[in-house]
């Protein structure tokens, strides 16, 4: 049996990788993908606790997280397309129209 802490550590590792991705990448699409990684790390945790406690609630919560991820991806990618069409860049640090 895998100790519960290993799930936690795996989730932690994915989370940190995701955070670093969000903070260091310039391409917005990859930033969005890193956010997906973070959400995924959360899901692993939820799932591990669901197993640990023998309760299905964690899995249900994970479903909501996935729903959220889907919504985020749809809107986020919609914004990216709209932005790319207007400014023709995908770089987060060039999206500085509000930075005055």
């Amino acid at each position: 049996m895998v100790p519960a802490s290993h799930y936690f550590l795996l989730s932690l590792a994915l989370f940190i990788v995701g955070v670093i991705g969000v903070l260091t990448r310039r391409n917005v699409i990859i930033i969005l993908m890193s956010i997906e990684l973070i959400l995924n790390a959360v899901n692993i945790n939820l799932m591990a606790f669901a197993r640990l406690l023998g309760s299905v609630n964690g899995q249900i919560f994970a479903i909501f997280v996935i729903t959220d991820a889907a919504a985020e991806a749809a809107v986020g990618l919609g914004i990216i397309i709209a932005y790319f069409r207007n400014r023709e860049t995908l770089l987060a640090d060039e999206m500085d129209l509000l930075k005055w």
Binding site: M1, V2, V17, I20, R26, E36, N40, I63, I81
Partner: protein, 172 residues
């Protein structure tokens, strides 16, 4: 059998972490997406190992078959050749690693606290049968105990759908 599934966990965990690192470091967005898909599949494997078959299917159908297709679609629609020639990383790596370290330390501390005070982490895991039959249990939870959140989630999706259409449409 138990040894087999344990091994599988470490295999999937290693796969997930490695691909996650490649997601963040790959220069090409399509490669990033492929590594993300691998990471998601590995996570799905871990779900399976955690007796969450329904979530395994949801993860593959929704995440891999839906969301990631969307990502790849968008990457292909926007012009990659230009993006490829640009610098892919900003200069915040120091700040980023500090923040990541801080967050990690915080989580580890929380983990240590829970463990130290004899929280759930020290419990023996529940019987494997507790989550079976998985699909039925999830359905009952979703449609009986959590109907309101479920409906709210549907509205969220509806809003996201309309939002995405509005954003992506050229001329409304």
């Amino acid at each position: 059998m138990a040894a087999g599934t344990t091994l599988l966990f470490y295999f999937f965990a290693a796969l997930a972490v490695l691909s996650a690192i490649f997601v963040v470091t790959a220069r090409n967005a399509v490669h990033s997406a492929i590594f993300l898909i691998t990471a998601l599949l590995a996570t799905a494997g871990i779900y399976l190992q955690l007796q969450a078959e329904f979530l395994f299917a949801v993860q593959i159908i929704l995440y891999v078959g839906g969301i990631m297709v969307l990502f790849i679609f968008v990457i292909m629609l926007v012009n990659l050749d230009v993006a490829m020639r640009q610098e892919q990383f900003n200069r915040q790596w120091l700040a980023a690693s500090l923040i990541a370290l801080a967050l990690g330390a915080q989580l580890l501390f929380a983990f240590w606290l829970v463990r130290h005070q004899g929280g759930v982490l020290s419990h023996a895991p529940a019987a494997a049968a507790a989550l079976q039959p998985n699909t039925e249990l999830v359905a009952q939870g979703l449609f009986r105990d959590y109907v309101l959140p479920f409906e709210i989630a549907s509205i969220l999706l509806l809003v996201a759908m309309i939002g995405a259409v509005v954003m992506a449409k050229r001329r409304i």
